[in-house]
């Protein structure tokens, strides 16, 4: 029964947040594709004045790509392809935090908590369903939309190049390697969820606790922590705030080379600390949902 309930609770979150979980990433994918096609048209139309034979910028770029060796192509083109994922990954982080902040606040605000609580679903299961939505469902949905948009772009480029002399496989598919790229982004999204666990848990806790505007609390408390540390801490620098700050950064701020399995092993203490802090927040949120009534 718990499994069936969990699936229904996850569906319920999707029904409530279709805009964030379906329409917004779909629009993002659409814009991405439009940008790629637009860029293709522009670069095809534009010509370089330095070239005697008036080759288009697009063709010029392809010529340069052909001239590179495999390793350079992978570094350059793979990097661009990876960079194009960042808007989706950043959007997913912001959407997840925004979702978690409202997830239990809104049900108290519109008093629908009385309906949800009239059903035989435990507070723990409800809170876990919201956590799972925030840390796994939202990142995966954005990842899927990102991958679809990128693959469609690749197909568009492939269609453009078919029939030309350019070796499509060698200059496009091989350096980009969509399969390896997919696993890399999957690893990134999972690691980001674990790395940001204290913030996700904190957002969930505020959502269960705040009687008004959890967003204000979300930013206000860390600022208050920083001020208190600055005034009262016997140590130099801000220990708690700096730890929170480190966990607030998107991992994509790190370079490709440094973010890998090795990084995870080095940062294992930080990861475990974050997960523990997140779990404490989630446990507190479960307790609060059991105690709190509507606002």
């Amino acid at each position: 029964m718990i499994r069936a309930q969990m699936i229904t609770l996850l569906k319920r979150e999707f029904w409530e947040h279709k805009t964030l979980m379906l329409y917004l990433p779909a629009v993002g994918s659409g814009l991405f594709l439009i940008s790629v096609v637009g860029l293709l048209l522009l670069t095809n139309a534009a010509t370089s004045t330095e070239i005697i034979f008036e080759e288009s910028v697009f063709e010029l770029g392809l010529d340069k790509l052909v001239a590179l060796d495999n390793a350079e192509r992978t570094l350059w083109l793979g990097g661009v392809y990876r960079l194009s994922s960042y808007p989706f990954l950043l959007m997913s982080l912001v959407v997840a935090l925004n979702y978690l902040l409202g997830s239990m606040f809104n049900e108290r605000k519109d008093r629908s908590i009385l309906f949800w609580k009239s059903m035989p679903v435990s507070d723990a299961l409800t809170v876990v369903s919201k956590l799972v939505t925030g840390i796994f469902v939202v990142p995966m949905i954005y990842l899927i939309f990102c991958l679809i948009a990128q693959l469609l772009s690749l197909f568009v480029l492939t269609l453009v190049l078919i029939g030309t002399d350019y070796p499509v496989w060698d200059i496009l598919w091989l350096p980009i390697n969509p399969i390896s790229h997919t696993f890399s982004l999957l690893f990134y999204q999972l690691m980001q969820s674990f790395w940001s666990a204290p913030w996700f848990g904190y957002a969930l806790l505020l959502s269960a606790w705040a009687k008004s505007s959890p967003v204000v609390w979300f930013f206000g408390i860390p600022v208050a922590v920083a001020i208190l540390e600055r005034v009262y801490s016997p140590y130099d620098g801000l220990i708690i705030f700096d730890w929170l700050w480190a966990h607030s950064l998107p991992l994509l701020a790190m370079s490709d080379e440094s973010f890998n399995l090795e990084w995870m092993l080095v940062e294992v203490t930080g990861l475990l600390q974050g997960i523990l802090a997140g779990m404490i927040c989630v446990g507190s949120a479960v307790w609060l949902r059991g105690k709190h009534n509507e606002i």
Binding site: T8, R12, E16, M119, P120, V121, S122, D123, N293
Partner: protein, 287 residues
């Protein structure tokens, strides 16, 4: 008869305000209990305590369980409609059915569809597009499709017009009330549920004024319609309340033998609202 709900010494305080003060009553299996009282009497607080939605002191057992622990287990056998429309505005009717089906082991989708069939509610409508009456119809259909032992209704028809209110109680009578299932209703519109009730609980300012079976209440409290010339004689018998209507006096008596009253005028059953007002005024006088 087994008690579905057993309340002993139930108290609740919000800061210095006493919302419930040492309540004792039971809801027997198969009963329809009216929880009657003015605003602020503690009706909603008492119902929320039964549902594990608020903390309390004292002893409270719902179907043998403590609602403050494991609310979700109790909710397999209990359902609740609150005083205002609490179905989320963004939810679609079809999704509401899917949700309840997914989380409640005793939900019958076919029953819900059958109940909704006679209404104007469309499956693809969102709750925000429905009128208040339709939202109540939908909520009632969802609840009626649950095979539960106890249904708790807190002012379920508040804000509805008379047509919807009548339809609501007709449906409730036809589809829910039987010898095994119990119903607890709190409402201001006492007259509408008077014929349904088997028991009643009067609350005022968080205090229990009366908890009684309707039959016992009818035997104990009698209203006497008396002409002005016999009024003083009737007053000698110690009425607990009196009011003048269309030139005749209506006096309410507590535990006075009927034969002593019939010689003074016409006797009849005491309406619940009149009895409640009389008992509350009597308490004020005694205080």
């Amino acid at each position: 008869m087994n008690a579905v709900v057993s309340v002993q010494g139930l108290s609740k305080q919000y800061g210095s305000h006493v919302a419930l003060n040492n309540l004792n009553f039971e809801i027997p299996q198969g009963s329809v209990v009216g929880i009657i009282g003015p605003n602020g009497a503690g009706k909603t607080t008492a119902l929320k305590a039964m549902l594990g939605l608020t903390s309390f002191s004292g002893s409270l057992r719902v179907l043998g369980r403590d609602p403050s622990k494991g609310r979700h287990r109790i909710m397999q056998d209990v359902c609740y409609i609150s005083d205002v429309g609490v179905l989320p505005r963004w939810l679609k009717v079809a999704d509401a059915l899917s949700y309840v089906e997914g989380v409640h082991p005793r939900f019958s989708r076919s029953r819900a569809l059958e109940l909704l069939d006679g209404t104007k509610i469309k499956m693809n409508s969102q709750i925000k597009d429905l009128s208040k009456g339709m939202v109540t119809q939908l909520h009632l259909a969802l609840v009626m499709s649950l095979d539960v032992s106890l249904l708790i209704l807190d002012e379920p028809t508040l804000g509805l017009d008379i047509v919807y209110r009548k339809a609501f109680y007709d449906r409730l009578l036809a589809d829910f009330v039987d010898e095994t299932r119990s119903l607890a209703i709190s409402t201001h519109q006492v007259e509408e549920i008077e014929s349904l009730l088997t028991h009643l609980v009067f609350l005022n300012d968080g205090e229990l004024v009366l908890a009684s079976r309707i039959e016992e209440m009818n035997q104990r409290f009698i209203t006497l319609q008396v002409a002005p010339d016999k009024l003083e004689q009737a007053r000698q018998l110690g009425p607990i309340g009196e009011q003048q209507l269309l030139g005749r006096w209506h006096l309410i008596f507590d535990s006075v033998p009927p034969e002593e009253l019939t010689v003074l005028g016409e006797t009849r059953l005491t309406p619940i609202a009149d009895l409640f007002v009389a008992l509350v005024q009597l308490e004020k006088v005694n205080d």
